[in-house]
């Protein structure tokens, strides 16, 4: 073990960084003064008519007389959304904005009705008749690659849209030398990110300039602008995209959706304002889905339970089309790249495939692939522990990486992390012996408790080289921040990143405050508007605090340097004797000081005083494109299983995590809480279910069940801080981490509870029905 891991936050004598200051975002939001896309009114409203069939040719679309109904024929010239990967046998397919001759999933937009009110548009949409020559639906990923399966897209036999393979040299020999091979067949079913605000778009045409302003609920406004301008063949500068307050995204709002393209097209065509708000049913059937993977993982262990080699077969059902910009390669390729997770194993053989089916397109969802990878890997570890008859913690102790930097079998560089330390912290806090005693007592009474662990690493804050390595045509990564101190001394930071609830305005303000010594209340962070914010990639992949935070720090340091110069002139002192604090520059050890406001005023109005040593004004930029880092955590779940009903209650949940330096502990904790709740939902409840015909049976929130306050136990948090060398703020990012651990921890706990019954569950969500089926089959068999 190497390096420094400190427990808890703080240190370094910092004034603003590391403090739980209240969020600057909140006063407006708690007073109902937030501005969400759906709050805007429009002259025209759109309702999409969606395919009731999963597959087939469109024979006719009949619109009621006098109604304005747009179909594919009307939008000729509008380009399909065609995401590209220049690697891995990728077969590009374009998604038409409106289904063109053929439908490929239930919910695909076939036509758009435009009317003066939402209700009218809805009424007309009900009268639009779509006649489809029904074809057999293919909804399961494994069925899609079976012999004789129908083809979803012409020229794609076998329905494999991307396929990647890797095998390290020497794998076969090591495999052959193993004492034991342990296997896990894991299944993560399809899920939906379910932000509380569904999607919405509002586009207005400005007849004076010919520009369109699109408000939409997105995580990446600049990329939306680029992509829509491409589809519509318009100058990008004629489109302004604004992400106002966004009611949660969780990845679902980081892909371009056809609806936003069409709404923009309509505003230009009608030279007016046009709006669409998605209803919950649409969100569940036609927004981006996630998680749908089959993973078979085998581990070869030596006689001491040391993992020697891993073999993986990863199959992701990525739906009918490929999502923009990340493509359908995202889930399977990320699983392939990050599979060995926190374990030391240098031999790896992996086949990863994405297949197309007649289901809704898959996009990102908080955690992307890692919930599935971690679930499989951690199930494998528990199975291996059983096979070797050792403690599940001991097998982890034998195999977790402890020497850093570490180069994985896939060539990823892991910077300093604390896999062992977080686990030991968690183990100590949960008190395993006490639990085992309680478990035994309960068992004697016919009650079933279980404990489950999950250790994992989360790749965070990675820049453009990481995306380029995937062969993506669009390689997001860097971020730019412009900081201006205005002539009144107030600070404005314009950022390319685009948060949607993470509190980034506050954390970035803390980073700036730390550098230039003005309080966060005097710092405004401006984002989400392509007219006022620099080009940037938005908020996803636990990147914003690391990358935008890094760019912020770079820009703030430049401002600081400039302020010191100005202060040097104004106070007639050496820069090295000056400190910036409390909104002032002070000469150390004297009572000479000048306010930032006075300095800013001089920077604009008295530039001659600085003898050409500084540029006029007080604006600086920072751009940052880091290599990427890894956060890590150990999650522990204690569950109570009702063997009669199959119901699982999570009684206790504990997280020991390490995200490097924490800028605002309160906000960091909130991110973990929210992630864990989603992860528990993923583990136990949430499932998009298709029937054989390709219809969705879970199209409302009573059937697709996000957890409520009842299902989420108090979440206990322990922080370790391993400062990152790969991130200039030393922060590692943690937006997704909370979601990654629970499927593994909870299902391992369920399996621990199931031990007396000699059955195991390797499917998420682990619903009562699935658990009861296992128990019933076991009863029958005995």
């Amino acid at each position: 073990m190497s390096g420094a891991h400190t427990k808890g936050s703080g240190g370094d004598g910092m004034k603003w960084v590391g403090r739980s200051i209240r969020r600057l975002e909140d006063p407006a939001l708690v007073q109902g003064r937030g501005r969400f896309t759906g709050d805007l009114s429009a002259a025209h409203w759109v309702r999409f008519v969606r395919s009731p069939n999963a597959a087939g040719k469109i024979k006719s679309i009949t619109a009621p007389d006098g109604a304005m109904v747009i179909t594919a024929a009307d939008i000729e010239g509008v380009k399909k959304i065609t995401p590209m990967l220049h690697k891995f046998n990728y077969k590009p397919v374009g998604q038409p904005i409106l289904a063109d001759g053929e439908v490929r999933f239930v919910g695909e937009a076939v036509a758009a009705v435009v009317a003066a009110t939402e209700e009218e548009a809805e009424d007309i949409a009900d009268l639009v008749e779509i006649d489809i020559e029904d074809a057999a639906a293919l909804v399961d990923g494994r069925a899609a690659i079976a012999d004789g399966a129908p083809q979803i897209h012409a020229g794609m036999p076998g329905n494999v849209i991307v396929k990647a393979e890797i095998k390290t040299p020497g794998f076969d020999d090591v495999w052959a030398s193993a004492a034991k091979i342990v296997r896990c067949d894991a299944r993560s079913n399809r899920q939906n990110a379910t932000p509380m605000e569904a999607r919405a778009a509002h586009a207005t045409y400005d007849s004076a300039t010919g520009r369109v302003t699109l408000h939409c609920t997105t995580q990446m406004p600049h990329l939306v602008r680029t992509a829509i301008a491409d589809c519509l063949g318009m100058p990008e500068s004629d489109l302004r995209v604004i992400a106002p307050d966004v009611g949660g995204g969780f990845g679902q709002k980081m892909s371009l959706c056809v609806e936003y393209v069409l709404v923009t097209w309509l505003a230009r065509k009608l030279k007016s304002s046009v709006a669409w708000t998605e209803d919950r049913r649409e969100n569940l059937i036609a927004s981006f889905h996630s998680r749908d993977q089959y993973i078979t993982l085998e581990g070869a262990f030596d006689e001491n339970a040391k993992l020697l080699a891993l073999r993986a077969d990863i199959l992701a059902n990525t739906g009918a089309y490929s999502c923009f910009p990340t493509t359908c390669g995202m889930e399977p390729l990320m699983a392939m790249a990050e599979m060995p997770g926190p374990y030391d194993v240098q031999q790896y053989d992996c086949l990863a495939r994405a297949v197309v089916t007649n289901t809704c397109t898959m996009g990102a969802y908080r955690g992307v692939s890692r919930p599935s990878i971690t679930f499989t890997l951690e199930r494998l570890m528990d199975k291996a522990a059983k096979a070797f008859a050792i403690d599940p913690l001991d097998i982890r102790r034998k195999n977790l990486i402890t020497q850093f930097p570490y180069k994985s079998a896939m060539g990823l560089e892991y910077d300093e992390a604390s896999y062992r330390e977080t686990m030991e912290t968690a183990v100590e806090a949960i008190n395993v012996p006490a639990f085992r005693a309680r478990q035994q007592l309960a068992r004697d009474k016919g009650e079933y408790l279980g404990i489950g662990f999950a250790t994992f690493s989360e790749r965070t804050g990675y820049g453009s080289p990481a995306f380029a390595a995937r062969g993506m045509a669009i390689t997001p990564g860097w971020e730019t921040v412009h900081i201006t101190v205005d002539p009144s001394g107030f600070v404005e930071a314009r950022i390319g990143s685009s948060p949607h609830g993470q509190g980034l305005r506050t954390t970035l303000a803390q980073i700036i405050a730390e550098e230039i010594g003005v309080p966060p209340e005097m710092i405004k962070v401006v984002h989400g508007d392509t007219d006022t914010a620099p080009y940037g990639w938005g908020t996803f992949a636990s990147r914003s605090l690391v990358i935008s935070g890094g760019a912020t720090l770079i820009a703030a340091r430049k401002i600081k340097a400039k302020l010191l110069k100005i202060a040097g002139h104004m106070l007639e002192a050496a820069e090295t004797d000056i400190v910036l604090e409390d909104g002032k520059a002070k000469v150390a050890g004297t009572d000479r000081e000048v306010s930032v406001a006075a300095m800013a005023r001089e920077a604009y109005t008295q530039t001659h005083r600085f003898k050409g040593e500084i540029e006029p004004g007080l604006t600086e930029s920072g751009t940052y494109d880091p290599p990427g880092t890894f956060s890590n955590a150990c999650h522990v779940a204690i569950v109570r299983l009702d063997a009669e009903t199959g119901h699982v209650k999570v009684e206790r949940y504990l997280v020991a995590e390490d995200a490097g330096r924490i800028i605002n502990p309160m906000i960091a904790d909130g991110q973990v809480h929210g992630g864990v709740a989603q992860g528990i939902g993923n583990a136990l409840l949430e499932e998009i279910i298709y029937d054989e015909s390709g219809a969705i049976l879970t199209a409302n929130l009573a059937d697709f069940m996000p957890p409520t306050a009842h299902e989420i136990p108090p979440i206990e948090l322990h922080h370790l801080e391993t400062p990152s060398t790969q991130s200039i703020t030393k922060a590692k990012g943690l937006g997704e981490g909370g979601t990654i651990g629970p499927p593994a921890a909870v299902v391992n706990a369920i399996n621990d509870a199931l031990t007396p019954f000699n059955v195991e569950i390797d499917t998420i969500p682990a619903t009562p029905q699935r658990i009861r089926t296992l128990l019933r089959n076991a009863e029958r068999a005995s």
Partner: protein
């Protein structure tokens, strides 16, 4: 379907004379006809609670009520919670305890919690979780919402 009925909605003590179709939900009327967009819509089928407002002292889901049914009743929305510049203890508690992230569910939770605590100031912790489980939040994992409401309950009892 487009025959409109005149109704007067009393929202936060102010009357709004509007004409709506009988099928118009109270949520839509509050947001679109009265311009009070603080009340949010997350599902329109009564599950998420984002649209919760207080009608005659009881929290209700405004997506499950028609605007015409609210005639003559006192409606309170998030916009009316603060007393001028002074935030309601519940709003303050949500800010102090990080009870919100994206803030989309927040107006619904605030109105739910205020409505319940006004009727039952000494509500037990267990019953409180029961009540809060009627609204969905996708960001906070509920931890800090529960903490916020407990803190506000103490403050409101003072």
């Amino acid at each position: 379907m487009s025959e409109k009925t005149d109704v007067t909605l009393t929202i936060n003590g102010k009357d709004y004379a509007i004409a709506v179709e009988p099928r118009r939900t109270l949520a839509d009327a509050i947001r679109e006809d009265c311009g009070q967009t603080g009340t949010h819509i997350g599902c329109e089928h009564g599950v998420c609670g984002a649209c919760t407002v207080i009608v005659d002292d009881a929290p209700v889901r405004s997506c499950l009520m028609f605007a015409v049914q609210a005639e003559g009743k006192a409606i309170r929305t998030v916009e009316g919670l603060a007393d001028g510049d002074k935030l309601h203890p519940m709003q303050q508690a949500f800010m102090d305890n990080h009870g919100l992230q994206c803030g989309f569910c927040t107006p619904g939770f605030l109105m739910l919690a205020v409505g319940v605590l006004e009727r039952e100031p000494n509500i037990s912790d267990e019953a409180l979780i029961d009540v809060l489980s009627s609204n969905l939040c996708r960001c906070t994992g509920y931890q800090n919402i529960i903490k916020s409401v407990r803190a506000a309950a103490q403050e409101m009892r003072k």
